[in-house]
């Protein structure tokens, strides 16, 4: 029998295996690789009013745990930044951003080169539940918050890609399709939200910067649609139609 392990992809492996030449990072292709030129054209022709770009291959890891459990603290220590407990906020530390996605769910986002993020977290907090499950089985109560050591860490780096939407007109651009209030009073530094943009589900993150700008995390399969939508919505800001929609 083979030794089964939880498979992880190259980007986050603690000790990367030597990959074969043809699968080198040069062969990687991001969901919006084909859109880069059109994004750059908008950035140019809007004369800085808008900046659109894909931030490909960011490391992304979903963390599920009880925020009152010791695992939450362990996760914070491993990440170097505590998990945000206020809904729809972001904690940043080093090169990592930790997004609140739900009362027991976070998304850790790191630079494209980040390696071993999921394993680091899993080592720090994960797998504990396997050993302590029996101890806790007896104290589970369905209506009271129980300190539950059950955690889940899932690498989702390729599940979504990230779009940078920045520039003085970025808020106006997103307002064409985003129903939530993006005014700095309502959605300033440190805020994030899961919501809809056009007809796609997205995670919006206010950039950690005094200038207006957002990260838009979108499911990879929707990325092409959302890119087309953004390019179309940018039409007035660049002075000419970027996409012909029949």
């Amino acid at each position: 029998m083979l030794a089964f392990r939880v498979p992880v992809f190259r980007g986050i492996r603690a000790t990367p295996k030597e990959p074969a030449a043809m699968a080198d990072t040069a062969a990687r292709r991001s969901p919006l690789a084909h859109t880069a030129d059109r994004f750059a054209a908008v950035t140019r022709s809007s004369r800085g009013a808008l900046r659109l770009a894909e931030l490909p291959f960011l490391a992304q890891v979903t963390v599920r745990l009880d925020p009152k459990s010791p695992a939450a603290e362990a996760a914070g220590l491993a990440l170097g930044v505590p998990l945000p407990l206020v809904p729809n906020t972001v904690n940043r530390g080093g090169e990592l951003a930790v997004l609140w996605l739900g009362p027991d769910e976070w998304l850790v986002v790191g630079p494209a080169a980040t390696t071993g993020l999921a394993e680091r977290l899993r080592t720090a907090i994960g797998d504990e539940h396997v050993t302590i499950a029996d101890e806790h089985a007896a104290v589970v109560d369905e209506h009271t918050a129980v300190v539950d050591e059950h955690t889940a860490v899932v690498d989702v780096s390729a599940q979504r890609t990230t779009l940078l939407v920045a520039g003085p007109r970025s808020r106006d651009l997103l307002a064409h399709g985003c129903p939530i209030d993006l005014h700095p009073r309502a959605f300033g530094i440190g805020r994030c939200a899961q919501t809809t943009l056009a007809r796609a589900h997205v995670v919006l993150v206010a950039r950690d910067d005094l200038r207006p700008g957002f990260w838009v995390l979108v499911r990879s399969s929707f990325a092409g649609y959302l890119a087309d939508w953004l390019l179309d919505a940018a039409t007035e800001h660049v002075g000419q139609p970027a996409l012909q929609v029949s």
Partner: protein, 1100 residues
């Protein structure tokens, strides 16, 4: 759009939520112990109360948490929300938190609204220095040059009237330096910038703009605004547009329009213009920039609150533009508002809908007024979706007409509208006029017209004692006939004479030769939005009209819209409403500078609807629908007692003006006919939109490629480059088949099938849903959701599973991979991925919170390639040198981690075709590299890419059903012949109890079977019915079932089908008949497994 407060994320649009039905209906402890009746009650019966109702919601597009809400089903208000597991709040608690107490339309200071607000107006907005845009609301400014909103003339214009016979030499706010050419009914005319099409026509002496829809009577310009019933025209150029009131069309150069016999024509070409939408949020939305609205916005402007002021005209002022009063104050206030940092003024913007939780829709006409000069990249119209914490409605009032004999001739015009033409456009709507009124307001119109040179022959006032205004008119040399009324009119294309008698008499005493008759039957507050918002109206006896009363939303009404028709009162009420609104949301108000307005003594109006007149002459109520008093009398004579019914019986109020001038008149006349008080009768319901909105504007950018999201896989570009045709599966584009030169679909699919059965073929299977399920209770959890046992699956192995709803009907199927003792990877059908995840979360969060399980979607974390066919093992072995591929080392339904072409991969040995097959999962970032490596390595074996059609043929030959194609929500696993997938050992799982219901064990349930047409070339269309007899009996013909899948098979050398047939498994071998066109095609019922029933090909 409701604003639903998620217990975690706070208030969000209803569209982010998913409704989950009645709350507190727990899954029974022991379903097996319930009778069929009890179980059916759990499955199918829910409460349906009027009033507070506890229900489940999920914040589906947000934090994905389920919660409970108590909603008042009669008002849709969410009274409270609470988390799963918490008790439902008692009704006493609810009555404390309910917001449903009615607010007066104008009131004492309001309590703060329910949403807490940090209220830090001093916090700097962090816009870039480059182009500081307004931060008050989102949305792009139209680029420079697009607005065309340079200030118009101020009423002291110089220069003559040019060639316009009815143009005053100096009056009006038109720009006489900007002449514009336009064409109406084939004749070219000239007008000025600042004109409407109606004012330009009047200036040229044209008043008739069409004929009426039913009776063909000449009709002319009747008003100066959106209430216009008559002058509805067709624009021909630059782009055809039907049914626009000429009174609302801003004149532009090159406009070509024509009159209409009631009904317009749609363009035959697609509209080339851009339409878009924008979301906006504000503390205060003021609707209307007349005196009350401007005062309200001015009160809020400097507080730091976010304010939107929306007005349908190109410039602020509202009624003041027509009366010519306070224009300096208007200009100054307009400048102040434009300069205020958090204020956005939307001109040419009609707020047309007022929905739940102060969600209002408005349409901004951005480039219509530029005609052919409109820049193509700027949207022509924009829909604003505004969420306001407070709303001040300052929508003014519409003048109403009177039902007198022959009251529809061109030249009969509302008095204030005529005044507006004189003051705003410098146009004389006629030379000689009679004024017919029941109230003071028409006197000012008469005086302004007289001052502009119109000969006002008489003011005919129904009131015996009109008061001080009559003295003013007499002082100006105008005869005032008190206690009189108009009894009839003469004229054809234009009015020529008006006859008058003491009010109450039908026979004319005097006749005036005039070409203009001004009418004022009183004023109707524009309460449309207030009413749409849920506001109640009450009848005001003094005013003789319905005025806003109470509303549960944070809305106030000010000025004319609230029945306050005097200028000083409107200003004061507007300022107070604006101040209250922003104080309620935590800002401090500065008292705005309001202009001094001399109080003018007023006499009360007289309530008149019906005026006696010449026998046989029609008295029109609804001009646009040609509805007369006699029509209404027929309706009441037929026994109708409600204005809602008389409206539908007569069509009064149903035209595209929606009865703005006729609605209250209809109510008044029906009340008189019935002998009841109008206050008891009420009005018909006001529904959005306030004015017609084009479908193009409502569609916005949701057209063409942006109509709906298109989901693609990481390999999509390869498929496109290799000539794939695509099939829509949910929102996904999946390769359907890859035709080669000259191939049709049939040939391509037969070729692809042959490759998969005889050599090797590969397919992009990335769209399958994938869910990571982990936790100590993951096995228990999956045992409860799948019909078969998952907890016994060994790590490293794979099992096929079926999920049913609680009613026992198949809902999804797929494979389950055990990755680790506490970790599974579940696959779902392509179209059901999100639904299955929601289903899992609903059970976990609401019914089984004790289970220690977490579910995470990883659909796009993996790209999946199916490598299929007897030669697939050789292709794989060449690319995965470290993988032992022989059948013993890597058996069917096992998975392995390895590298393929140097790419980390997880390979599953599963087959949806019956052939030896592998599903190779890699990161989508490397999917193209894998695909190309497989293509290259498979070349010696003739590897062939195949699409969904071939996949369907291959699976159907093996009798594998597709959920959603061969099932339709009424099919159990047993119906599919899959009893083997239903566990007998598990004490319970979702759906189990239903398999013991009398209905699911009927012998005549429809079973999935194969069908073989007796002629192997005959193809049965999917959906074809099946009958027992070779000749159709007399209807109703008993139907035995229908074809669910139908294909041509390369392997079988014939056509075949799958079908759901009553008692089908007991009919195998029987001949049935399928009506195709006018033929009855004989078919033989067969086992659904038509190819390789022994399963010999699975291991290669």
């Amino acid at each position: 759009m409701l604003l639903i407060p998620c217990p975690w994320c706070g208030p969000r649009d209803e569209a982010e939520f998913h409704y989950g039905g009645q709350a507190h209906v727990p899954y029974p402890q022991d379903p097996a112990s319930l009778s069929d009746k009890e179980w059916a009650r759990y499955l199918f019966f829910r409460d349906n109360p009027k009033g507070p109702f506890a229900e489940r919601w999920s914040h589906a597009a947000g934090c994905r948490r389920w919660f409970n809400a108590v909603r008042d089903t009669s008002t849709n208000e969410i009274l409270t929300v609470y988390r799963p597991g918490e008790d439902r709040p008692s009704s006493e608690d609810l009555s404390l938190t309910a917001t449903s107490q009615q607010r007066p339309a104008t009131s004492q200071p309001l309590p703060a609204t329910s949403q807490p607000r940090p209220g830090s107006p001093a916090r700097p907005a962090f816009e870039d220095e480059a182009r500081p845009g307004p931060t008050g609301v989102q949305g792009a400014e139209p680029p420079g040059g697009a607005e065309g909103a340079a200030p118009l003339e101020d009423g002291t214009g110089r220069g003559g009237g040019g060639d316009h016979p009815f143009r005053h030499p100096t009056r009006g706010r038109i720009d006489r330096t900007a002449p514009l050419k336009f064409t109406f009914d084939g004749t070219e005319y000239q007008g000025y910038r600042g004109d409407t099409l109606a004012s330009a026509l009047l200036a040229n002496g044209v008043i008739q703009t069409g004929t009426s829809i039913k009776l063909g009577r000449p009709r002319g310009i009747f008003s100066a605004g959106v209430e216009e019933p008559n002058a509805v025209i067709q624009i021909e150029e630059p782009f055809p547009e039907p049914m626009l009131p000429a009174t609302t069309v801003e004149l532009y150069d090159g406009l070509v329009a024509s009159s209409l016999p009631g009904q317009g024509r749609l363009a035959t070409e697609p509209d080339p213009a851009r339409y878009d939408a924008v979301h906006a949020h504000c503390d205060l939305l003021v609707v209307g920039a007349g005196p009350a609205g401007l005062a309200a916005a001015a009160a809020a402007a400097r507080s730091g609150a976010r304010v939107i002021l929306a007005d349908d005209q190109p410039e602020p002022g509202g009624s003041l533009l027509g009366t010519g009063e306070l224009l300096d104050w208007v200009a100054e206030t307009g400048r102040e508002l434009a300069a205020a940092p958090e204020v956005r003024v939307l001109h040419r913007t009609t707020v047309f809908g007022h929905y739940d939780d102060n969600h209002l829709l408005a349409v901004e006409r951005r480039t219509n007024h530029l005609g052919a000069q409109a820049p193509a990249h700027v949207s022509r119209e924009r829909v604003w979706r505004i969420r306001a914490r407070h709303v001040v409605l300052a929508t003014g009032a519409h003048e109403r007409s009177l039902a007198f004999a022959d009251n529809d001739r061109p030249g009969v015009m509302l008095a204030a509208s005529a005044r507006s033409y004189v003051n705003r456009h410098g146009v004389l709507p006629g030379r000689h006029a009679v004024v017919f009124t029941t109230n003071d307001s028409a006197y000012a119109a008469a005086l302004d017209l007289a001052a502009a040179g119109v000969e006002v022959a008489a003011i005919v006032d129904t009131r015996p004692e009109p008061g001080p205004w009559a003295d003013r008119a007499r002082d100006a040399g105008i005869e005032v006939l008190t206690g009189h009324a108009v009894t009839g009119t003469e004229g054809g294309e234009r009015l020529t004479a008006v006859s008058v008698a003491p009010y109450g008499e039908a026979t004319a005493r005097r006749e005036f030769a005039v070409d203009l008759l001004l009418v004022s039957g009183g004023w109707n507050p524009v309460a449309h939005l207030f009413s749409q918002a849920g506001g109640k109206l009450r009848y005001d006896d003094t005013l003789g009209s319905f005025v806003p009363d109470t509303c549960r939303q944070a809305v106030e009404v000010a000025g004319g819209a609230n029945g306050v028709l005097d200028l000083a009162g409107a200003l004061a009420e507007g300022a107070a409403a604006g101040a209250r609104a922003i104080e309620a949301v935590g800002y401090t108000c500065e008292v705005p500078r309001l202009p001094d307005v001399a109080a003018v003594p007023q006499a009360p109006p007289m309530q008149v609807f019906l005026v006696p007149g010449a026998a046989g002459a029609p008295r029109f109520v609804d001009l646009q629908r040609d509805v007369t008093v006699d029509d209404l009398a027929r309706a009441t004579g037929a026994g109708l007692r409600s204005v809602e019914h008389t409206k539908r019986y007569t069509t009064a109020g149903t035209a595209n003006d929606q009865g703005k001038t006729s609605g209250l008149l209809s109510s008044g006349i029906v009340a008189e006919l019935l002998g009841v008080d109008i206050s008891a009768l009420g009005t018909t319901t006001f529904r959005p939109p306030y004015t017609p909105v084009s479908f193009a504007a409502l569609a916005g950018r949701h057209r063409g490629a942006l109509l709906d999201p298109i989901r693609v896989t990481a390999l999509h570009e390869w498929h496109v480059e290799h000539g794939a045709l695509f099939e829509n599966v949910g929102q996904w584009k999946r390769p359907w088949y890859y035709p080669r030169d000259g191939e049709d679909m049939e040939a391509a699919v037969l070729r692809e099938c042959r490759a998969a059965r005889e050599g090797v073929a590969f397919m992009d299977a990335s769209t399958l849903g994938k869910i990571d399920v982990q936790g100590p209770d993951a096995g228990v959890f999956l045992d409860r959701l799948y019909t078969n046992m998952m907890s016994t699956l060994k790590v490293g192995m794979i099992r096929y599973g079926v999920m049913c709803r609680a009613d026992g009907m198949v809902f999804d199927d797929g494979t389950v991979i055990r990755l680790a003792p506490d970790r599974f990877l579940v696959t779902t059908t392509t179209g059901n991925a999100a639904t299955v995840l929601d289903w899992m979360e609903e059970w976990l969060q609401t019914e089984w919170p004790e289970l220690r399980v977490h579910c995470t979607s990883v659909t796009e974390q993996w790209a999946t390639v199916a490598l299929v066919g007897p030669r697939s093992r050789e292709v794989l072995a060449g690319l995965a040198p470290t993988l032992a591929v022989d059948n013993d080392s890597f058996p069917f339904m096992a998975w392995r981690d390895t590298t393929v072409a140097g790419i980390d991969a997880r390979i599953c040995r599963i087959s949806f075709s019956g052939e030896l097959a592998y599903e190779i999962n890699v990161s989508p970032w490397e999917a193209l590299a894998l695909w190309e490596a497989l293509y290259e390595a498979g070349r010696p074996y003739g590897i062939t890419p195949y699409g969904t059609e071939t996949m369907h043929v291959l699976r159907a030959e093996k009798g594998y059903p597709i959920v959603g194609q061969d099932t339709d929500g009424t099919v159990t696993p047993q119906d599919l012949g899959m009893s083997w997938v239903v566990s007998k050992k598990k004490p319970d799982f979702v759906g189990k109890r239903s398999f013991a219901r009398a209905d699911t064990v009927r012998p005549d349930r429809k079973h999935l079977v194969g069908l073989l047409p007796e002629d192997p070339g005959t193809f049965l269309p999917e959906g074809t019915h099946l009958v027992a007899d070779s000749e159709l009996p007399a209807p109703p013909v008993p139907m035995l079932g229908h074809v669910t899948s139908s294909y041509r098979s390369a392997a079988l050398g014939r056509t075949f089908a799958l079908a759901l047939i009553k008692g089908g498994r007991d009919r195998i071998g029987e001949r049935l008949y399928a009506p195709v066109g006018d033929r009855l095609v004989p078919v033989t019922v067969a086992s659904p497994v038509l190819y390789d029933p022994e399963g010999a090909r699975r291991d290669g």
